[in-house]
């Protein structure tokens, strides 16, 4: 198989991801099945016990994932099909990592400050947009969110030390 040269190198094949996902799902199913077996997966006099439904669902999930595993392993064509290439993975990480940091910051600084940081940072560093545009957009957005949720609709968001300083 000669691949076109301008295509960046694939990080993983679809087949590899298929196999990994099947294994993870099968492991998850095994843990769930075990837990439900412990809490009682039998049939009491008044119908199924509380573990019955999830136990058999776990078996179904496990069975289907093992089937998928066998199928993916036998699938030769999938080995050549890229799941993501390098450039794509980098771009996905460009959102995923900031989103992760955003969740982390929300815990410490509250949602509004964290979203200000996320939007300003993302626009500046990922989008390459001018500083003043990025800052202005993120301030307006965070303020608008605050007015919409906390003030107008009474949906209370997590807040941090900065909101506390301002008296909210």
């Amino acid at each position: 198989m000669s691949e076109p040269t301008e295509e960046p190198r694939a990080v993983a094949s679809t087949r590899a991801v298929d196999i990994v996902v099947s294994l993870l799902l099968a492991a998850f199913a095994a843990v769930m099945a075990w837990d439900n077996w412990k809490s009682g997966a039998g049939w009491a006099s008044d119908g199924p016990k509380s573990g019955y439904f999830p136990f058999y669902l776990a078996l179904l999930l496990g069975g289907a994932s093992l089937f998928g595993l066998v199928k993916a392993t036998a699938d030769r064509a999938g080995a050549d099909k890229p799941f993501v290439n390098r450039d794509q993975l980098r771009r996905v990480m460009q959102v995923l990592v900031p989103t992760f940091l955003f969740c982390l910051f929300t815990q410490w600084l509250g949602l509004y400050v964290a979203s200000f940081l996320l939007i300003a940072g993302f626009m500046r560093w990922v989008g390459g947009i001018a500083w003043w545009k990025s800052l202005l957009t993120s301030v307006i957005f965070a303020a608008a969110m605050f007015v919409t949720f906390d003030v107008a609709f009474d949906v209370i968001m997590p807040k941090g030390p900065i909101e506390a300083l301002l008296g909210f």
Binding site: T14, V17, V21, L25, F28, M32, D35, N36, S39, S45, D46, G47, P48, K49, S50, G51, F53, P54, L57, A58, L60, L61, A64, S65, G68, K71, F83, V84, Q88, L89, R91, V92, V95, L96, P98, T99, F102, C103, T106, Q107, L111, S115, L118, I119, F122, M123, V126, G127, G128, I129, T137, F141, M145, F149, F153, D154, V155, I156, M157, P158
Partner: protein, 503 residues
């Protein structure tokens, strides 16, 4: 005509300044999320759901459903002007819509799309108005076995009729069902699969999962594909609108066929996306001039848009009458009902008349107002697409996080949303369908409850599902659908054998 009286009452409920303005806000927000590539009906509704948490249910559902209508209208703008389908069922609209835009007939294509969506929805709403109360009152006789049989039918039809690989549909569905079982068991009060965690005690909230699966994962996918937005400008003048409307009656047969296809597939669980393709293909097959399809024929816009909206709207029929969503968005609206403390199902028509008829009336009004708004504001919304994605992506992430947090005021849910976002991204890339997952998440608990209540009623005898003709025929139909691929293969073979013996 009892329905008409109740419908008029519904309009009375609607016609307050507050609800009408919420309706406008909902429509504009909806068009906005519909226009953004990668966000469509279900994502938009899921992300904007928290806005409605503190409202009373009628205002909330009116606003949410208007977001939905708006998103349906908005999706057409992206498909036609930018050749990017806002969601799966706008794909067929790009076939002829984009060529029309290239030929400088964008305004015609957009008018055709909006008007035919309007007609499709209208037919479906009429169907809901006159059919839903009947179905609901019929379903009032349902006991737990009947309900379980209907849920079972829904699940089976996804497995048997879905286009994806069967084992992947089963994976997606059983994973969803398993996740809903986490937390306290509603029948016995026992804890299941919590592994000693306080956060898992509450269970996994359906909406948190949906926001992650649709919102976050869609952002990841859009970033990966790095959409380059190059679109055509368009402004719609009244002259063009009337020109298209004058042409429209000529295509009455196409419109009627597409509406019928849409309504049918919308009510059938899992059929919503197929509708637009089927509408398109049927129109093509009936046309005398098949060659011109795909090259910018206005009929090629009418057909899929009518079918898509008819199915998108009629998907609300089983949700209202039986508590079973016909589409992903309907499932999210159903999740909303539960947040507002309403119990979806046939009793809704008896206990919450204001709510149900207010919703149905808002479907009429929302579509009319939506049509006017969308026709007059196309240039504005097309400009939204010129805003750099680097500014829109983080805002969507923030909205998702707000949504996930607001449901139960829990930071844990925000993390859960992130996990579901990654899961959704991977699943989409390896073709594990998300619709059965969503359906399982929203129906899981109720399916299990109805199963166990029927088992308690029958002292553990499975024959309760064939104890009378009603439940028996639903359960049998479910099994037939589940094994439909095998059955249809067997029929084919039989027919083949017959042909051989006769020749």
């Amino acid at each position: 005509m009892e329905a008409l009286g109740l419908l008029l009452h519904g309009f009375e409920v609607l016609l307050t300044f507050k609800i009408l303005s919420l309706m406008m806000v909902g429509l504009v927000l909806g068009i906005f999320v519909g226009v953004l590539p990668g966000l469509g009906g279900p994502n938009g509704v899921a992300i904007l759901l928290p806005l409605t948490f503190t409202m009373e249910p009628t205002s909330a559902i009116v606003m949410l459903s208007c977001i939905y209508w708006g998103a349906l209208f908005g999706g057409a703008i992206t498909s036609i002007l930018f050749n990017i389908p806002g969601e799966a069922w706008s794909v067929a609209t790009t076939f002829d819509g984009y060529p029309m835009a290239q030929q400088g007939k964008a305004a015609e294509a957009l008018t055709a799309a909006f008007t035919s969506s309007f007609i499709g929805s209208l037919v479906a709403v009429l169907l809901i108005t006159f059919l839903a109360p009947g179905i609901a009152s019929f379903a009032l006789r349902f006991g737990p076995p009947e309900f379980f049989a209907v849920y079972f039918l829904t699940f089976c039809s996804f497995v048997g009729l879905g286009k994806e690989e069967k084992h992947k549909t089963i994976i997606s569905m059983s994973l969803g069902l398993l996740l809903t079982a986490i937390g306290m068991d509603t029948v016995s009060g026992q804890l299941r699969m919590t592994f000693g965690s306080d956060n898992l005690l509450r269970g996994i909230n359906f909406l948190v999962a949906v926001i992650g699966l649709f919102g976050i994962s869609e952002i990841l996918l859009t970033m990966e594909e790095r959409l380059a937005l190059r679109g055509h400008a368009a402004a719609i003048s009244l002259r063009v609108v009337f020109k298209v409307w004058r042409e429209m009656p000529r295509y009455w047969a196409t419109l009627l066929r597409s509406s019928a296809i849409g309504c049918w597939l919308g009510i059938t669980p899992g059929g919503a996306i197929a509708a637009s393709f089927m509408g398109y293909n049927v129109a093509k097959r009936f046309s005398k001039d098949k060659e011109s399809f795909g090259k910018g024929r206005i009929e090629g816009v009418f057909a899929p848009e009518t079918a898509a909206h008819a199915s998108g709207t009629s998907a609300l029929l089983p949700m209202l009458a039986l508590g079973i969503p016909g589409s992903g968005t309907a499932a999210i609206l159903l999740g909303g009902l539960m947040v507002w403390g309403l119990n979806p199902g046939p009793l809704l028509f008896v206990e919450h008349k204001d709510f149900v008829w207010g919703l149905i009336a808002s479907m009429y009004l929302g579509n009319v107002v939506g049509l006017v708004i969308v026709l007059s504001t196309v240039p504005l919304f097309a400009a939204v697409l010129r805003v750099p994605f680097a500014a829109i992506a983080p805002m969507i992430v923030v909205s998702c996080a707000v949504g996930a947090y607001a449901i139960q005021n829990a930071m844990f849910d925000v993390w859960l949303m992130l996990v579901f976002g990654v899961v959704g991204y991977v699943f989409k890339k390896i073709n594990i369908p998300l619709a059965p997952f969503t359906l399982a998440l929203v129906l899981g608990n109720r399916a299990e409850d109805s199963f166990r209540l029927s088992m308690i009623g029958s002292a553990g005898d499975l024959r309760v599902f064939w104890s009378n003709s009603l439940v028996g025929s639903i359960a049998t139909l479910a099994l037939v659908l589940l094994f439909w691929p095998l059955i249809s293969a067997a029929i084919e073979r039989l027919r083949g054998a017959l042909v051989k013996t006769t020749t």
